[in-house]
């Protein structure tokens, strides 16, 4: 029963992940799991200091946790399910229970929550939903598409022969992401820790587990053992969380994930989970194990983490290479709000959104940035803002999105084929959806210029520039519009931007047969 629910939720999570693509047609919000994550909700709330209706699923989950205890870990958490499933597949050496480590997750939770009040976003490193979404996006989905395309390659001739043209030409767009290795390493470590102790991650490290566990005390379903217990210790040994003590009638209620393995394995059938409201029952072990020293350390750790992040040796000024997705909040707010779940990167139709490494400093790790040399930002797509669970990227309608300028193209004349080599190249102009590139006659040849107030930084010019290596026309963050609230269109109007479809600048003429020279 429990396994069925677990698998169903894992499939549901995977399904919603797979639906995170263009066109976004799912009526269930594809970021539902992220929005139902209380840790994300809490840190987003604390760092942005705003309450939104966006996190109602997380609030519902918290209410349910208050009612039913730490059931999230045992039933809903997709990472928890994967950890359990992998435990079955992996060899299981001697189990060790470093009980002292249990408190680590509470310390981690404290650091994360305290840090979020100071504006540093750390949940992304440890939140299981984020970790799994990111692993799916950056590692698994590209890998699966790679295998799928490779297999399709093999059946093309046969499909073509059979007249199955659609199959013969079926080819999935291959997304690729940077930081595959680090993302994969984290995921594999979490799975591998299972070898030391079952659900090592859930027992000792997961801050989301810690958060729901804090509320579990008041839950109405609690493990109760009848007096006729024979102390056979089966439940103690089989509990996946190691939550049952040496005295099997007692349970560490904070560790109990309501999986009810104990009721199944008990030969006497004396273990029950009857509704019983007794938050202060003597058999309940509710101690957190937090020491004064640990408390002070994690408190100060949380408080200074933002200081450390923003002043680390890896900190750099925001370089020229950091182009944020359209509608991204102002940089500081963006860094505080973005949970690095990479849903935006998954949904991005052109694959331009890539995880940052250190382009935005250490604190910008895994935040989305547009790699416009790799691909441009499709102007009719506004999905990154639609799937962002924390609204670090604003949900904009297509017209607003068009005005959410992400940068300005800068022409590097010394690399440009026309300026430097007198070639008849015009790809940037051909590509530009806004006619922001015009040609003017200079030294007898028509040469490209960027009209800054017509450029919204979409990057088609940079992507398609035929120069080898870095493009001769590069989008820089120059002039980007980042608004916490209000209309981008109005802001663009204030800045005299003309991101509309007119061809007013295109009035150049071809002179004589060469077709090369022009006269304005």
């Amino acid at each position: 029963m429990r396994k069925t629910i677990q698998l169903l939720f894992l499939f549901f999570f995977t399904y919603l992940f797979l639906r995170t693509h263009y066109p976004l047609t799912s009526w269930i919000p594809v970021d539902l799991f992220l929005r139902a994550d209380p840790l994300i909700a809490l840190t987003a709330l604390l760092s942005s200091k705003e309450i939104t209706t966006h996190f109602i699923p997380a609030m519902i989950l918290m209410v349910l946790t208050l009612l039913f205890g730490r059931f999230f870990c045992g039933y809903l958490c997709p990472l928890g399910t994967l950890i359990e499933v992998s435990r079955r597949l992996l060899p299981a050496p001697e189990v060790r229970h470093p009980e002292k480590l249990r408190v680590v997750k509470f310390y981690l939770l404290m650091v994360i929550v305290i840090a979020s009040t100071t504006g540093a976003q750390l949940a992304f490193l440890f939140d299981p939903t984020v970790i799994l979404t990111r692993t799916y996006t950056i590692l698994l989905s590209p890998l699966i598409i790679l295998v799928a395309n490779f297999s399709l390659e093999g059946i093309r001739p046969l499909a073509d022969h059979l007249g199955l043209i659609t199959l013969a030409y079926l080819h999935y767009f291959q997304p690729l992401f940077y930081t595959t290795l680090s993302t994969g390493a984290i995921f594999i470590s979490i799975i591998a820790l299972n070898l030391i102790t079952p659900r090592f991650w859930c027992r000792y490290l997961c801050p989301l587990g810690a958060l729901v566990s804090l509320c579990s005390r008041v839950g109405i379903f609690k493990r109760m053992v009848d007096k006729s217990c024979t102390y056979c210790m089966k439940c103690t040994h089989q509990c996946p969380m190691g939550a049952i003590e040496e005295d099997p009638t007692k349970v560490k209620v904070r560790e109990c994930i309501q999986c009810r393995t104990c009721t199944l394995v008990c030969p006497q059938k004396v273990v029950s989970f009857k509704p019983h409201y007794a938050p202060f029952h003597e058999d309940l072990h509710t101690e957190l194990g937090i020491t004064r020293r640990g408390f002070l350390c994690s408190l100060s750790g949380g408080l200074i983490s933002s200081f450390l992040l923003y002043n680390s040796p890896l900190k750099r000024g925001r370089g020229d290479t950091l182009i944020r997705p359209p509608g991204a909040l102002p940089e500081e707010a963006f860094l505080n709000t973005c949970i690095r779940c990479s849903a935006c990167m998954k949904v991005c139709i052109t694959n331009t959104l890539q995880p940052s490494l250190f382009e935005g400093g250490l604190e910008g790790l895994w935040t989305p940035r547009a790699d416009l040399r790799r691909a441009a930002c499709e102007q009719s797509c506004n999905l990154c803002g639609k799937v962002c669970p924390t609204h670090a990227i604003r949900d904009l309608d297509p017209e607003e999105k068009k005005h959410a300028k992400i940068g300005t193209a800068v022409l590097l004349k010394e690399k440009c084929l026309v300026w430097e080599q007198d070639k008849v190249c015009l790809i940037c102009d051909e590509q530009c959806p806004y006619n922001a590139i015009v040609f003017k006659t200079v030294e007898g040849l028509r040469r490209p210029f960027v009209i800054e107030n017509k450029c919204n930084g979409c990057g088609f010019c940079e992507q398609k520039c035929p120069v080898e290596g870095d493009a001769a026309i590069v989008v820089k963050p120059l002039g980007e519009i980042r608004l916490k609230e209000g209309s981008y269109r109005k802001e663009a109007e204030l800045k005299s931007l003309k991101l509309t479809e007119d061809s007013g600048y295109d009035r150049f003429l071809f002179e004589n047969e060469s077709g090369k020279e022009v006269n304005e």
């Binding site: 767009f173 015009l426 035929p466 009035r507």
Partner: protein, 319 residues
């Protein structure tokens, strides 16, 4: 034969695969559409009319134009596989006129089917995301209901193959769609639009959509000669220009001035059709002579077709 040779020494699996692949390319494909294979090398006037120019409702005009150049049965035989190459490179709506009018594409596809084509493949190597181009251009939607017709954006290098360009002056070899090598009939179905590099983009320029690396044309060689070289290699059996809407400025991608000319031009000689296409309106606010468009001139000089409109039999009609 190839296999026998190899069996003398050890035949490894890799050798076998390599050899069969080569043999496959040489014998089974046979490059039906490439000019040098002889079949379509010379432009033979299939009807008394060199160029058909029809004005009116695009759907009717296309059908009339096909009739005037000899009927679709002249070009498509029972059981053949046809490639239609429209302009489908941009994620733009039909009204923006950067792509071929979907009504025209669907009408031609249906005409091919009616003439007996088993499969009609509407192909382009799109500049923007493929699915979006198919969706926004309306071509996917309009062709959906036509049986045996497939609208595909071939944006993976695996669908392309390198071939020699024997008559090329600046292009020696070129990576082109394998499907072009395989299909028996190629119908070029460009829209006429202004183009900031070539002045006007019609059929010959539009055929750059069948090659893998367009950037090379722009950056490494003389673009105009490269287009002519491409025409010397890939020669459509029929070219139909969709000038129902034309992007008279701001091309090739727009935004720009869109004129509703409601004109369809059809012909076998790809250079002649383009030459007429140049004259139908003002591009970038001025009139062009065909010889002023450098790639047309280059193709004419290579003997690939005729840009002298006064030497052609042009039949004009209105429907």
């Amino acid at each position: 034969m190839q296999k026998k040779e190899n069996s003398n020494h050890q035949l490894t699996r890799r050798d076998f695969l390599k050899t069969s692949a080569k043999a496959g390319v040489l014998f089974s494909l046979g490059y039906p559409l490439l000019s040098e294979s002889g079949k379509a090398a010379t432009s033979v006037a299939v009807s008394a009319t060199d160029l058909a120019v029809v004005k009116g409702n695009p759907e009717k005009a296309v059908l009339k134009a096909i009739d005037l150049v000899g009927g679709m049965k002249q070009f498509v035989k029972e059981g053949q596989r046809v490639v239609i190459k429209p302009n489908m490179s941009f994620a733009k709506t039909p009204e923006e006129a950067a792509n071929t009018n979907p009504v025209v594409v669907a009408t031609v596809a249906q005409a091919c089917r009616d003439a007996g084509a088993t499969q009609v493949l509407v192909l382009d190597h799109t500049l923007q995301q493929g699915d979006l181009c198919i969706e926004k251009s309306g071509i996917g939607e309009f062709c959906q209901s036509i049986k045996g017709t497939y609208v595909l954006a071939l944006n993976d290098e695996g669908f392309y193959q390198t071939v020699n360009v024997p008559r090329g002056k600046v292009i020696r070899e070129l990576k082109i769609m394998k499907e072009i090598l395989k299909s028996e009939v190629l119908i070029n179905l460009p829209t006429a639009k202004s183009h900031s590099a070539t002045g006007v983009s019609v059929g010959m320029k539009g055929l750059m959509g069948v090659i893998w690396d367009r950037g090379y044309f722009h950056s490494q060689v003389d673009l105009h000669q490269a287009i002519a070289d491409l025409t010397s290699l890939v020669r459509p059996n029929l070219t139909i220009i969709d000038a129902s809407r034309v992007l008279a400025s701001g091309g090739p991608s727009g935004p720009g001035i869109v004129e509703k000319l409601n004109t369809i031009i059809a012909g076998v000689d790809p250079v002649a059709v383009d030459a007429y296409g140049v004259t139908i309106t003002k591009w970038f606010f001025r009139k062009f002579e065909p010889a002023q468009i450098k790639h047309l001139l280059a193709a004419h000089q290579m003997g690939l077709g005729n840009i002298n409109l006064n030497q052609l039999k042009i039949q004009e009609e209105t429907v």
